[in-house]
Amino acid sequence: MLDSKIKTKIAKQLEGIVGAQYITTQETDTVLNAHDAWPLSEAKIRAGEMLPLADIVVFPGSTEEVSEVLKIANKNKVPVTPVGGGAGTCGGTLPIYGGMQLDLKRMDKVLDIDHKSMLVRVEAGMVGIDLEEEVNRHGYMLGHTPTSMRASNVGGFLATRSGGSMSSLYGKIEDLTLGLEVVLADGSIVRTKAVPRHSVGPDLRELFIGSEGTLGVITEATLRLFPIPEERRFRSMAFVDVHSGLEAIRRIFRVGIVPSVVRFYDPEDTAMAMSQHFDVKEGDSMLLLAFDGAAEKVDHEERVSVEICKENGGKDFGDGPAKRWWAHRYDMYYPTKFTTAGFSIGDTIDIVATYDKLENVYRAMKTAMEAHEAFVMSHFSHMYQNGGSIYMIFFTSQPDAETAWATYRKIWDDGVAACLREGGTMSHQHGVGLSRSTYTEDELGSSFQVLKKIKDVLDPNGIMNPGKLGLGVQQ
């Protein structure tokens, strides 16, 4: 926490930049701004614990204001935690060392739509669903549909290297972003040119995508747009086991078909998500597919995919389960009495691996997590030609807070250890934040030192989101 004299001095200086109404030191505002959607934070809130608070929350309205704010923070060596929609699931916006939260929500404008190149230039504070609705009005879609769409911002998409449910076809945010504007810790403004491809050295845009505010503040992005597809068709197939379903998915991609949605639920997740609505045999695993595009293309993709599924023992459930999932895809994000009772806590470890390792990673993680009496259910989603992601979802309920938080941590520790041991990567789209911060070095191995060196050069005072991404941890 900042010394009160320094806090007052800095607050005064910030007022001069953004205006008095766009800065607050009120405890109520810092409490309400403190948390993102990290399940551990949410559980602690329910349990009545206070989360770490910033000393100051500042709401700049332009890139230039962000720059001036960072100059002040850097000069005074004040920690800065950038905040977008506050919808991350890893505690990435928790101001664990106090200081300043730099909230980008006022920067919420679409700056330009380039119809010829199918690009949109947008400020980082725009809420995802607002941007999607705006581009829909022009006949486009983003192709980026994270479950947090109603709450997360463009800046958060980028900072966490996020992915949506249709990433198989349209890509993750790193595939959807052509240009970036970033403000560095010293206030300098960096712009990477929006071009489809280039060969001018390493792609510095990639350096900031996924940097979680530790290397700078993303203030603007140029994103790709897609025409709204003529048709989106759904199909669902049930398999007797996880292995045969995964084989079907792998072969679908191998023949060159790229569905927009590929979600494959293991027996536990199938029972939880499907069995109330569809007559699925106990122990079966359900695959949901969607195909986007012109009718002829969709016809072909659907027909070939169904053939492959059937060759692998798939039972046809028509469009029902997949269509129902699409209509209710945001529902699982809502709290329920069950998931918020007592000291209950559920979370997802969203890992990614290549096909040769995927099934082993799944089984190893499941075993490791279930060893702590957690209920574990999983789905394979965000599938690609070479592999895909697994949502390892767990739920635990304990008699008291201390046991609950400790159990939560053990599940994470052992789950991630099993993932790394079997050759997986510990996050596909949620990022690192605090929940994975301690595993970053193990995950990145020797390349972690490269990241650290880059961090030291770009942020020598260590003010940018310290403690996240395994960087800037203070003793």
Binding site: T28, E133, A151, T340
Partner: protein, 374 residues
């Protein structure tokens, strides 16, 4: 604790929700901060309930930075009614004497003048011209905004009702319905107004009561009975009444598309969505075009639950956004069925849209058509 166990559980769920409704919250739009949001309000209340942190002055401000529009409820799968939860706490805050001082003028004005505008009570309806008619008797409860700020709504309502054959009676001494007081927590003051109104209305000889203000409508039909105050005649909003006379309403060739703004009190809080639309479709010969956000997903105009009194600039931001949403339809006319909404929307539309209340549209149709309306 002022909340029962079930409500406390709902507050706890809302406090830790990943903000699934925040994108439609008008005060989030106006402030672009986590504080005036549904989950923000719930978090403050949850912390108070379980003793983590008491409400400070800023927290009280946050609880008054709410329109009680219930738009969040439309998007809430667990159906947590944060507007009702906030209003419950506001009542307690008023009892504790911890309400924002910016409300004092409004409360004093209603106590003294029986309207929130500090206008002389004796001029409330004295200006209204009531045509003589021998038809069915009906009481028109004007409400403060039509009486003092949107006179043409009241006058056109009377004219349209008379044209439909009603013998319109105006209460000689109508007081504020109490809506601004109830929504901001001043129950006792509201009930003083309410008791008087009920006495006056019950003493009048008429078949029914009609209102043009959805705030009045909600209070007369829902809040008065909740507090044991029964009106001895049916109460209808004018949209409902006009819809029941659909075939008798005039039609005319309107010179542009019409879009409709649902008021929160009439729509989400009273479930009246289709009747005003049917009226518009009839009189404009099918010129209605919908905004993207309509019916239970309609955005509030920004005026509700004391927000305009306490935070006028933010209220206007919300009104301006609703006007932008209306403009996006390509409409020439923005029609609502609430004098308070009309007042806000017209102030923000400037000359970009023609903003009318429903009786004004019907009166316009009457004047421009040659169809008899008896």
């Amino acid at each position: 604790m002022i909340y029962d166990e079930d409500t406390a559980q709902q507050i706890r769920m809302c406090a830790a929700c990943p903000k699934m409704c925040r994108h439609v919250c008008p005060t989030f739009l106006a402030w672009r901060s986590e504080s005036p949001t549904p989950h923000g309000r719930a978090l403050l209340l949850h912390q108070e309930i379980i003793g983590t942190r008491q409400l400070d002055d800023r927290a009280i401000d946050v609880l008054y930075q709410c329109l009680e529009c219930s738009h969040c409820l439309t998007w809430c799968l667990p159906e947590i009614d944060i507007a009702d939860i906030v209003e419950t706490r506001r009542r307690q805050l008023v009892e504790e004497g911890r309400f924002p001082s910016g409300l004092n003028n409004m409360v004093d004005s209603i106590r003294t003048h029986h309207n929130p505008y500090k206008e002389p009570h004796e001029k409330r309806t004295s200006w209204l011209k009531i045509p003589k008619n021998d038809g069915r008797s009906l009481i028109y409860f004007t409400g403060c905004t039509a009486a003092y700020r949107e006179n043409s709504i009241a006058q056109d309502a009377v004219s349209v009702l008379s044209s439909l054959g009603y013998q319109v009676g105006i209460p000689k001494d109508e007081w504020c319905c109490g809506s601004p007081l109830l929504r901001t927590g001043f129950v006792e003051d509201a009930l003083e107004q309410a008791r008087y109104n009920v006495e006056i209305l019950n003493s009048m000889d008429a078949e029914e009561i009609v209102v043009t203000c959805p705030g009045c409508y909600r209070v007369l039909t829902q809040d008065y009975p909740k507090y044991g105050l029964e009106i001895n005649k049916p109460v209808r909003h004018i949209a409902e009444l006009l819809q029941s006379h659909l075939k008798s309403l005039p039609e005319f060739e309107i010179d542009g598309p019409v879009t409709f703004h649902d008021s929160c009190h009439l729509g989400r809080h009273s479930g009246v969505y289709e009747q005003p639309r049917e009226v518009i479709e009839r009189v404009s010969k099918g010129a209605l075009v919908e905004m993207e956000r309509n019916r239970d997903n309609a955005m509030c105009c920004g005026n509700g639950a004391g927000l305009r009194t306490l935070f006028p600039e933010h209220a206007k931001k919300i009104g301006a956004e609703r006007v932008r949403q209306a403009e996006r339809t390509g409409a020439k006319y923005l029609v609502t069925s609430c004098p308070f909404c009309k007042n806000m929307l017209e102030s923000q539309a400037k000359d970009r849209l023609i903003v009318l209340d429903l009786p004004e549209l019907v009166e316009m149709a009457k004047k421009r058509s040659h169809v008899k309306t008896d």
